[in-house]
C-alpha cells in the first residue's frame, strides 16, 4: 500500500457544463516514471492541478503520499515538486535569487538553502549563469532552472506539465536525460505531454487521455499489444515468384501482413518472429533481401486508438 504514492478514484472536474476530467482512476507507484498523454485540452493539466490541490475536484477522491491535497495542501506541496507548463521566473532577479525566494517559501533555513541551490543549479548545468538575470535565459535554460527549483525542495514526487514543449531537439534530449536521473534517485515522476516519441523514451507506464477520460493505461509494449494487436512489427524485403504475402500470413503468431512496396512487407506480430518469417520466405522460394524488427511507436498506438474510437463513434 505504501508503494502507491498517487491514487485517484472517480476523480471528476466540471467547469459549468464542460467536464474537463471524467471519473479518472489512476494509481502511480513509488519510483516510476508515468506519462500522461493526450491532445491539448484533454484534461491533463486539470488532473495535475487537482493532484497538487490547486483546483478542487467536483467529485471523487485523490490521495498524494496518502494525503488529501485539498485538505492538507501544505504537506503535499512541500513534498511534491511542480514544473508548470511554460514555467516563468522573475526576469529581473538572478537564477540564484529566484531559487532563494522559493527556498524561503518552503521554510528552508538560509544556510542550508544556499548550499542546496548551488548544488542543484550546478547539477542542471546552470553553474556558470547562476548570478545572471533570468531575463536573458533561453527556453531550455528556464526549463532546467525550473527543475533546479524542484530539486531544492528535495521532493518525493515531481510533476511536470509539458516539460519538453518548445525545446529544440538537443535541449529536449538533455532534459529527458535529467528526468532519467531523477528516476535513478528513486523520485516518482509524473509528466504530461503530447510529444509522444519523447515520452516513450523515458516512461515506465503511460496513460492515454481522451476527452477527459483515461482511455488506456499501461507500459508502452502492452498498449501496443492491446491496440495494434501485436507488440512487434517486422519488416521484410523479399523477392520471388510465389505469393509471399500469403506465405507470411500463415506463419504462426502473425496477426496482419501488409504490403508497403513492391518487395516490402510489414508484419504485425505477437513476438519476435523474424526467424520464422525468414524461413517462410525461403520455403516459399523467395529471396530474402532484408529483415528488421521495430518496437511499435507510441505515436502509432495513439493514432490507431483514436482512429478506432472515431470509427466506433461513426457507426454508433
Amino acid at each position: 500500500m505504501d508503494d502507491i504514492v498517487i491514487q485517484a478514484e472517480g476523480l471528476t472536474r466540471k467547469y459549468g457544463d464542460f467536464t474537463a476530467v471524467h471519473a479518472l482512476d489512476l494509481s502511480i507507484r513509488r519510483g516510476e516514471v508515468f506519462g500522461l498523454l493526450g491532445p491539448n485540452g484533454a484534461g491533463k493539466t486539470t488532473t495535475i492541478l487537482m493532484l497538487l490541490g490547486l483546483t478542487e475536484p467536483t467529485a471523487g477522491s485523490v490521495r498524494v503520499l496518502g494525503l488529501d491535497p485539498a485538505r492538507r495542501p501544505l504537506s503535499v506541496k512541500a513534498r511534491v515538486g511542480y514544473l508548470p507548463d511554460q514555467v516563468g521566473f522573475y526576469d529581473y532577479l538572478t537564477a540564484r535569487e529566484n531559487l532563494a525566494y522559493t527556498a524561503r517559501l518552503n521554510g528552508i533555513p538560509r544556510a542550508e538553502a544556499a548550499t542546496r541551490i548551488e548544488e542543484s543549479l550546478r547539477r542542471m548545468g546552470l553553474g556558470e549563469v547562476m548570478d545572471k538575470r533570468v531575463g536573458a535565459f533561453s527556453r531550455g535554460m528556464r526549463q532546467r532552472l525550473g527543475l533546479a527549483e524542484i530539486l531544492v525542495k528535495r521532493p518525493e514526487i515531481v510533476i511536470m506539465d509539458e516539460p519538453t514543449l518548445g525545446l529544440d531537439p538537443e535541449a529536449a534530449r538533455e532534459f529527458l536525460e535529467l528526468i532519467r536521473g531523477l528516476r535513478a534517485e528513486g523520485i516518482t515522476v509524473l509528466l504530461s505531454s503530447h510529444l509522444l516519441h519523447q515520452v516513450q523514451a523515458v516512461c515506465d507506464r503511460v496513460g492515454l487521455f481522451s476527452h477527459g477520460r483515461l482511455a488506456l493505461v499501461g507500459p508502452v509494449d502492452e498498449l501496443a499489444r492491446q491496440v495494434l494487436g501485436g507488440g512487434y512489427r517486422i519488416i521484410i524485403e523479399a523477392e520471388g515468384e510465389a505469393n509471399l504475402e500469403q506465405a507470411l500470413g500463415r506463419v504462426e503468431g502473425v496477426q496482419r501482413v501488409s504490403r508497403t512496396g513492391p518487395a516490402r512487407f510489414v508484419l504485425d506480430a505477437a513476438g519476435d518472429l523474424r526467424a520464422a518469417a525468414a524461413r517462410a520466405v525461403v520455403d516459399a522460394g523467395g529471396r530474402l533481401l532484408a529483415l528488421a524488427s521495430e518496437a511499435p511507436s507510441l505515436e502509432e498506438i495513439y493514432a490507431r486508438y483514436f482512429q478506432k474510437e472515431a470509427s466506433h463513434a461513426g457507426t454508433a
Binding site: G10, T45, L49, L52, L54, T55, A59, G60, S61, D68, R71, R72, P73, L74, S75, K77, A78, V80, G81, Y82, P84, Q86, V87, G88, F89, Y90, D91, Y92, Y101, T102, R104, L105, N106, G107, G146, E149
Partner: protein
C-alpha cells in the same frame, strides 16, 4: 460512489485546512518590498514626491517667515500654506498618494500571471492568503516608508528655514496626519489590488484604478451636488430646506475617500476647526472663535473619517480576496 461520497462528506467538511494561512507571509513581504525599493518605478515616484515636498516647503516657509512669532502653530502651517499657483502640501497629497498607491499595486496579481510565475508560486507550500496579504502589506510598508521620509524631510527643512522647532502637540498632530495619510494610501492600494485581481491585463487594471481616482477627484463632488438638488429640492427657500440639501450633499460627498481625507486633515492641522459639519449660527453662541481645540478633540473630529477609510480598505481587500481565492490558477 455517490453514497460513498455522501458518507464521507460530513467528516471531510469538519476537517480544517492544515496549518496557518499566513505560512510564508514574511517571505512574500520581504521579497515584494525588495522589489519595490529597487524598482525604477519607485525611484520616479520618490523623485516626484520629494520635489513637491521641497517646493511647497520653500513656498510655505517663505510666507511664514513674515509672521514668525504671531502664530502658535507655525509648524503645522508648513503643511497647509500654499501660494498661487502652487497648492499646499496637503493639496498635493490628496492626488499624489492615490497615484503612488495605484502605481504600487495595479500589477500585483496579474503581473504574476503575466510572467507565468503564479502557478509556480502557488505550488509552494503556502496559501493564496499569504500571497495577497503579503503583497498588500509590502505595498503599505513601502508607501509608509516613502511618506515618513518626506515627513522627516519637511520637518528638517522647516526647522532650518523657520528656525523654530515644533512643539510636542504639533509633533503629535503631524504624526496623526501621517497615520491618516497612510490609511488614505491603504484605500487606494486596496483598490489597485482589486483591479489587479479582476483584470488580467496590467494596463487595463491601471486604467480602471485611475478612472476611479479621477471619478472621485473631479466628478463625485459635482454628482453629489446634483443628487442633493434632485433629492432635497429647495422649493420655498426655507432655511430647513437649505439645511437639508446641504447636509445631504455633505453626506454624499463623504462617500469619497478624498473628502474623508481632506476633512480629517483639516481638523488635525488646523486646531481652530471645531466642527466638520454644518454649523448654525445658534450653535456658535457663546463660543470663542479662533480658540484652538486640544489634540484629543481634533483627533475625535476626524476619527469617523479615519475609521471610514480603514473600513473602505477592508471592504476592497475582502472583495479582492474572494475573487483571488476563486480564480483559476492556470493563466
Amino acid at each position: 460512489m455517490l453514497a460513498q461520497r455522501k458518507a464521507s462528506g460530513p467528516m471531510v467538511s469538519a476537517e480544517r485546512r492544515e496549518g496557518s494561512p499566513w505560512t510564508g507571509l514574511w517571505a512574500v513581504v520581504s521579497k515584494e518590498v525588495t522589489d519595490y525599493l529597487t524598482s525604477t518605478r519607485m525611484f520616479i515616484l520618490e523623485l516626484i514626491t520629494v520635489l513637491t515636498a521641497a517646493g511647497t516647503v520653500f513656498v510655505a516657509s517663505g510666507r511664514l517667515r513674515e509672521t514668525v512669532g504671531q502664530d502658535p502653530y507655525l509648524f503645522l502651517r508648513l503643511f497647509t500654506t500654499g501660494r498661487e499657483p502652487l497648492p499646499a502640501f496637503v493639496g498635493f497629497l490628496v492626488f499624489l498618494v492615490p497615484i503612488i498607491a495605484i502605481a504600487l499595486s495595479f500589477d500585483a496579481i496579474n503581473g504574476e500571471f503575466g510572467q507565468r510565475t503564479m502557478s509556480r508560486l502557488l505550488a509552494q507550500p503556502i496559501y493564496r492568503d499569504a500571497v495577497l496579504l503579503g503583497k498588500f502589506l509590502a505595498g503599505l510598508f513601502t508607501l509608509a516608508l516613502v511618506l515618513t521620509t518626506i515627513w522627516l524631510l519637511i520637518a528638517g527643512l522647516g526647522i532650518l528655514r523657520l528656525g523654530v522647532p515644533p512643539g510636542g502637540e504639533e509633533t503629535a498632530r503631524v504624526l496623526w496626519f501621517l497615520v491618516l495619510t497612510i490609511a488614505y494610501g491603504g484605500f487606494w492600494l486596496a483598490l489597485g489590488m482589486l483591479c489587479s485581481v479582476v483584470f488580467r491585463q496590467s494596463a487595463t487594471a491601471a486604467m480602471a484604478a485611475l478612472a476611479t481616482w479621477l471619478f472621485f477627484m473631479i466628478f463625485w463632488g459635482i454628482v453629489a451636488g446634483m443628487l442633493a438638488q434632485a433629492l432635497r429640492p429647495v422649493r420655498f427657500g426655507l432655511p430647513t430646506e437649505l439645511l437639508a440639501q446641504a447636509q445631504l450633499e455633505q453626506a454624499l460627498s463623504r462617500l469619497s475617500p478624498n473628502t474623508l481625507y481632506v476633512e480629517a486633515t483639516v481638523a488635525l492641522l488646523n486646531p481652530e476647526v471645531r466642527s466638520l459639519g454644518i454649523v448654525l449660527p445658534t450653535q456658535l453662541e457663546g463660543a470663542i472663535l479662533g480658540a484652538p481645540l486640544p489634540l484629543g478633540e481634533s483627533v475625535m473630529l476626524g476619527w469617523p473619517h479615519l475609521v471610514g477609510l480603514v473600513a473602505g480598505t477592508l471592504l476592497l481587500f475582502a472583495l479582492a480576496y474572494v475573487r483571488f481565492q476563486r480564480s483559476e490558477v492556470r493563466a
